[in-house]
Amino acid sequence: MAFDQVAFGRCCGRYTKTLKQEFSPYGKLARLLEAKCITRRFGRTLALDGVNFSARVGEIQALLGENGAGKTTLMKVLTGGVRPDAGAVELDGSPLPLGSPDAALRAGIAAVHQSPMLFERFSWEENLALGGFGRDGGGFGLQQIDLHAVVAKARALAHHLGFELPPPGAIIADRSVAERVRLEVLRALSFDPRVLILDEPTGVLAPNELTAFLDLLRRLRGEGRMVVLITHKLAEARAVADRITVLRGGRLVAETTPAESDESELARLMIGKVTIPPEQQVAPLANPATLLEIENLTYRSAGVTILDGISLRLGAGEIAGVAGVDGNGQAELVEVLAGARKATSGWFGVRGSDGSSMAVIPQDRDLDGLILEMALWENFLLPQPLRERMTRRGWLDVARAMELCRAALGAFRIRAAGPEALASSLSGGNRQRLEVARALTQNPRVIVAHNVTRGLDLVATADVHRTLLEFAADGGAVLLISSDLDELLAIASRLLVISRGKIHPTEPEDRSPERLGLLMAGRWSE
């Protein structure tokens, strides 16, 4: 990894300047945890680009940003899970070894991760014993863990923090999401950390649970711990944080406070400047024929309602954009429309044909959309309509399938050695083009595309957008589900917002990033 000395120097110059400017009432310990000039690249994406970050004792520091802004990467740098390409992490002015989770934990940095890290089939006290509760007898030894002592200690700590614990022996799998989050916090606290970092812990909490949880964070702050709350929810960041750091696209865009910035200001900082949509949008047809009908589609899994009565009509020549924060049912909607999941109730269909005239492009091209270890021509045979067309009496017509694939490679300028190349040999952008090419080769009337340009560079993105616009102009219909507002504002002729499994139409005056940001966060009253 080439180290950019100029950028590092510039960045650190800025850092020392801010340090001089600030006078700290806490004296030497004021800026306790500092990340300086952190840069980290994953493949071709720059996840963090010279980011400075600090957290202080007696403060709750919120780290705001959209998906992919680099929040989780920054947290992993702080906790040693990811080694930055450049930069330093300091605690009390002394540098921490980078990329060592153990060193971070020993220095007093503990984390609650975004995805649950509890053992489902263990009881809660066994889970806690695997954390810091069981280790007071001199590290991990062969000594028996006293589960009764763990329960007693955990109860005392929980009581102090103001919540109740389940009865001893209760299995994690049977506990509610809120209880799991609290147990994770408790386990992190069992290390008696000076810094507690929480990565989007509130995404799964109900509103009444949220209030109690924010109180818990305030209590931890009162104990003299540093609390870092990673979130993309503006309201809770403003409600609880003393200071707010905003990341966008791997860069630090603002350091502010709740008093200085209101929600729309924060939304603008998070989402960034949106280019005015160019005049490439499809002109809506005067009297469009309805192509896709979705009627009261509901999907429940394990008692949780994930899609909640979605109804939608999509006309010819239309690109309907569905905006939303990831995890509000988009993936499930795509899978139901693809036929990979069966809806609990409701109905959908393509007008005047069977289901085969709909092509679906899933968001995860490497896991869902393509089989990387198969040849390109074989990947072309994955969608049922194409496979049926290339099959004669149960046998694949390999020559025709290769020809079809070769033609598509040429037409969509996909850089590949040929139809027999493995899909894994293609770059990300070419893989995405392949998926789009395959979808169009099906001759569908409707295309459902989910985060179709995620991770693509500008040229590839523009290519995919042009292809979708041409498809709509030719009388097709596109359902474009995306968490990229710029993309939706640029090419969608109609905008919808999905939030907690419900789809809401938007008014023309909502067509701004600020309004959409609020709608995506579920603020429908304003």
Partner: protein, 354 residues
């Protein structure tokens, strides 16, 4: 194609070098041992045909493994499926006297196929509908199959004289066509070859074979594109068991002519090695099976000539397999997946059932 063969060939060469070191350590002459091994396996017409005969059940069970593993279904129960197929063949065989030979043979083979198929389909069903790990269920059913064989030859199928724990001899019309006696060369090897080619075409040119491979490489994507994972799981396991079961029927029809305990020396397990060495390619399995069959056949001659224990052949086999796995990262991936598959299986089954 040549590049694909390079790895197994290199592994075998390295294995031979290692074995030579072992032999030197034992005080035997490596050259003498290898020559005796070669003579015993391919030295004359009888030896050569016997190597082919010993390879035949390994081809059938190897194909069974290959089909199941291609779909990422880890069927470790080919041995039990072969035994159940043999029981079915041995049960109908004695009653086919007077039937035209092609018809009687066909019935015996179909009986074997059905026997192995449903035995294996049990595990397929458990996997598809109950998410039971097929590694465990197929291993367990191996033991059950061996006990069933033991029960039948001591009980319902025991020969009329009750002299030995063995079944009645099958009718002459149910015996496999033998070529060129006194060699034991028979139609079974030809059938194995034909099935190997058929399985190659099925897997790489057939639509169902395509779905099966897609499911094997990436269950999530297969589910996303509406490939019917659950039913395909059951049918793949049935096909795998049928192939092993035919192997059992061929053995009864061509070689043993009756049932007795310990009819299989563990072909179903050796077949896993055969299939992995062949990298699951049905045509490669024929080559690998002949290699393993020849090693087995040559080991006795090696013992007579050089006084080396025939167990050494198992050492050679083990060394070949270990070296191959060490070289072949994709095979490692497959093995690792057996132990880390649970979450993937859960999501795909949920999707398939939903």
């Amino acid at each position: 194609m040549l590049a694909r063969l390079a790895k197994p060939a290199g592994a075998i060469a390295l294995a031979i070098a290692l074995i030579a070191l072992v032999l030197l350590a034992l005080g035997a002459s490596p050259a003498g041992v290898f020559i005796a091994l070669w003579q015993g396996a391919f030295g004359n017409w009888i030896a050569f045909t016997d190597s082919l005969v010993k390879a035949t059940p390994l081809v059938f069970t190897g194909l069974a493994i290959s089909v199941a593993f291609s779909a990422a279904l880890w069927n470790i129960g080919a041995d039990g499926q072969l035994v159940i197929g043999a029981i079915a063949a041995g049960a109908v065989g004695p009653f086919l006297g007077g039937w035209p030979r092609p018809l009687a043979l066909t019935i015996v083979l179909i009986a074997g196929a059905i026997g192995g198929a449903w035995w294996s389909a049990i595990c397929g069903w458990l996997r598809a509908r109950r998410d039971t790990n097929e590694v465990i269920s197929t291993i367990m059913l191996n033991f059950v199959a061996v006990q069933i064989l033991s029960c039948t030859v001591h009980g319902p199928l025991m020969e009329a004289s009750h002299a030995y724990p063995q079944s009645m001899r099958i009718a002459p019309s149910a015996e496999m066509y033998m070529f060129m006696p006194p060699t034991r060369l028979n139609l079974g090897m030809i059938l194995a070859l034909v099935l190997a080619i058929a399985m190659y075409l099925f897997l790489f040119r057939g639509e169902v074979g395509f779905q099966l491979r897609a499911m094997g490489i990436n269950r999530r994507a297969a589910n996303f594109f509406r490939i019917p994972i659950a039913s395909l799981t059951i049918w793949t396991m049935a096909l795998s068991g049928a192939l092993a079961g035919i192997g059992g029927a061929v053995q009864v029809s061509a070689i043993n002519h009756r049932l007795y305990e310990k009819i299989s020396p563990g072909w179903g397990f050796e077949a896993i090695a055969v299939a992995l060495v062949a990298r699951l390619n049905p045509l490669g399995i024929v080559v690998a099976a002949i290699f393993f069959g020849a090693l087995d056949n040559g080991s006795q001659a090696m013992q007579r000539a050089e006084g080396v224990s025939p167990v050494l052949v198992q050492v050679i086999q083990a060394v070949v397999i270990l070296i191959l796995l060490a070289f072949d990262t994709s095979a490692w991936g497959n093995i690792r997946e057996v132990f880390s598959r649970a979450p993937v299986a859960a999501t795909s089954i949920e999707g398939a059932d939903a």
